[in-house]
């Protein structure tokens, strides 16, 4: 039995991301981190693989920079890591990502659970989770805040989902695709020994040919990126006694239709 989760390296959330003079997105010399949402999925993969006595595998799709996220995952305690790289995947859109990811899950044996973080923090998307479930033909459970039980003999899983108004408990058949929220656990920090082992690990790289998949025709193309126009802010000092200042302030706010 196997649990599969996906991750990617994203710019540190403190980094300043902008469009460079060459039209490409840059975040200066800042380092990358594991997509913060994925940490919850990675933690859950470790915990649930132990619970069901299976293996936890992590996959990243994209160039070498994503090996950092995979090494972090191995250091946390994931059993195996794979990276998928192919010229046809650069650039990658949601549907191409889903096609490659679903093919990778199909290549692995006896996968019961495919885990995702809520979204990718850099591109702000979660559409790939829906697409992968569709491509695999697995049920999809989003916004999972707790895995209540996995019954491998009966082939079922019971989870708690966080909805806007409250909670929902759902039972689904296995295998299943799940996206998790940050309420599900507290991700562990990798240990020194984990980091040492991970830094020595060789991570296999699969191409689309290895996966035996061809990508769907790309229907949309990004033509260009541009920075937001700089915000212009005017500061106006109101002088006078406090009572006068207050009156002038209210007048100005009414004038500007703030109040």
């Amino acid at each position: 039995m196997q649990i599969v989760t996906f991750t990617r390296s994203t710019p540190d959330t403190a980094a300043r991301v902008e469009v460079g003079s060459d039209g490409k997105i840059t975040w200066g010399g800042a380092s990358t981190v594991v997509n913060p949402w994925d940490e919850y999925a990675l933690e859950e993969a470790i915990v649930q693989a132990k619970n069901i006595g299976g293996k936890a595998t992590v996959i990243a799709i994209g160039p070498e920079m994503h090996s950092e996220a995979l090494k972090h995952s191995l250091a946390m305690g994931l059993d195996e890591a794979v990276r998928i790289e192919d010229p046809a995947l650069d650039p990658v859109d949601g549907l191409s990502y889903a096609a490659a990811a679903a093919a990778a899950v199909n290549k692995l044996e006896d996968v019961k659970l495919v885990l995702f973080g809520k979204e990718a923090v850099d591109v702000g998307t979660d559409q790939h989770t829906v697409m992968i479930a569709r491509k695999l033909g697995f049920p999809l459970l989003t916004s999972v805040s707790k895995i209540l039980a996995i019954d491998t003999a009966a082939g079922t899983i019971q989870v708690e989902r966080t909805l806007e108004g409250g909670k929902q408990v759902v039972t689904s058949s296995l295998p299943v695709v799940i996206s998790v929220t940050k309420e599900i656990n507290e991700p562990r920090y990798p240990s020194f020994i984990g980091i040492r082992k991970a830094s020595k690990a060789t991570i296999p790289v699969w191409s689309l040919a290895d996966l035996g998949v061809s990508l769907p025709v790309r229907r949309t193309v990004v033509n260009a990126y541009s920075n937001l126009p700089p915000r212009s802010v005017e500061v106006e000092m109101i002088d006078g006694e406090p009572a006068v200042q207050a009156k002038l302030l209210v007048d100005r706010l009414l004038e500007e239709k703030v109040l």
Binding site: S31, K71, H72, A75, Y189, P190, S191, F192, I193, I195, R196, A198, S199
Partner: protein
């Protein structure tokens, strides 16, 4: 100039991707888990057991101890980087870390027998138990020959009976195991001191009052009283009468740790001051535009970098000493002397740049200032470091 060391082929130790990964792990852990609780534990003076246990789980309590003895199997550079990051978040945590790693574990690695390592090193390096190092007495510090505690061999020769009072034991209130230096042959002075491995759960050991301190308040420190405490002869670390040599040799490693701690405190204060000098405006411009503030910033940064280079220099000297079986006392003392004096200078100037805000407990500047003060005192005062360096240079004793 014959004493100036030209033997290093490399000027700084080599950073591997492993070091970078460790550094970013420790930085993240320290900023997310330690920094937010630093103020609370400084206030209460309680020992931060929960975060220390978590640091043990991560492998921070036995960084240089090989994996087969429960450690992380890393090198001194990894230890230095860890100390800097932890000290930047909270000096108290780094004091506890330093005693465990460079005093306790280091002594056992260097002088312990296989049985002693299994019993006393493995649980401490793996973070299960907390270790302490106990040399100082109320009236005896670096002049260890004047210590008044005594260990007397029993008539049947199976154990020693220890009596006396040790002071300033870092982690004393919670330590499970300790390395104790005490006098077995008082008439022989320094050569009459023996090191013992102490199990704190045995009868005859009492923890005294917790020391109320100016800084590093969460690194709980206490007296330990020994009243007819019986320790088996198998728990002698090294040889009888070899204690002083062990204590001094272990302190070489300890001083690199304290230098790194001082650097971490200085960096935290410096970064706060830099930010404040940019945003705080006076007389119509950021105070960082005033030359008198700029001079402070330039001096702080320069001394911080000089400290780092001296620490790296000591790390290289230690690695070389490991190959040759030599010592690195002078290099460790120079790093400790300069980095601790730098921490005092930088925390003082950083507080000054913050003005009244720096004096307030609303900001951590006053804590950095108090915490930095100890680095000029423990594991040998600045005066002792100067004495060590000068004696070694002059060849006079």
């Amino acid at each position: 100039m014959g004493a100036v060391d030209q033997r290093d082929s490399a000027l700084t130790p080599s950073f591997t991707p492993e070091h970078e990964a460790l550094q970013s792990l420790v930085r993240r852990f320290a900023q997310e888990k330690i920094k937010p609780i630093a103020e609370q534990f400084d206030e209460s003076g309680e020992f931060p057991l929960e975060t220390i246990r978590e640091m043990g789980r991560l492998g921070l309590m036995g960084i240089e101890v090989p994996e087969e003895y429960g450690g992380a199997g890393m090198d001194t550079l990894a230890y230095v980087l860890t100390m800097i990051e932890v000290a930047k978040a909270d000096a108290s945590h780094s004091t506890i870390l330093s005693v465990n790693n460079s005093l306790y574990c280091h002594a056992l690695m260097a002088f312990g027998t296989e049985e002693q390592k299994q019993q006393f090193l493995v649980p401490v390096a793996s973070g299960e138990k907390i270790g302490a190092y106990s040399l100082t007495e109320p009236m005896s510090g670096s002049d260890a020959a004047t210590m008044s505690s005594r260990a007397v061999l029993s008539d049947d020769g199976t154990h020693y009976v220890i009596n006396g009072r040790k002071s300033w034991v870092t982690s004393g209130p919670v330590a499970d195991v300790m390395i104790l230096f005490t006098m077995t042959e008082p008439e022989r002075g320094n050569k009459g001191i023996t090191a013992f491995l102490i199990d704190a759960s045995q009868p005859g050991l009492k923890r005294g009052k917790k020391e109320p301190k100016l800084g590093i308040r969460a690194s709980a420190t206490s007296e330990i009283l020994y009243e007819d405490y019986r320790v088996p002869v198998a728990n002698v670390l090294g040889k009888v009468g070899e204690g002083f040599r062990i204590a001094m040799q272990v302190l070489d490693a300890g001083r690199i740790g304290i230098a790194s701690q001082a650097l971490g405190i200085a960096e935290a204060a410096y970064e706060a001051a830099l930010e404040y000098a940019r945003i705080r405006r006076a007389f119509g411009s950021p105070i960082g535009q005033f030359q008198m503030i700029q001079q402070k910033i330039a001096d702080m940064r320069t001394r911080i970098e000089a400290s780092r280079q001296l620490i790296y220099h000591a790390v290289l000297a230690k690695a070389r000493a490991k190959q040759t079986g030599g010592r690195y006392t002078t290099e460790a003392s120079m790093a400790k002397l300069f980095a601790s004096e730098t921490a005092a200078f930088v925390t003082d100037e950083a507080l000054q740049i913050h003005g009244g805000m720096g004096y307030s407990k609303e900001l951590p500047l006053e804590r950095y200032y108090r915490d930095a003060r100890i680095t000029r005192i423990y594991e040998g005062t600045s005066e002792i470091q100067r004495m060590v360096i000068a004696r070694s240079e002059l060849g006079l004793r």
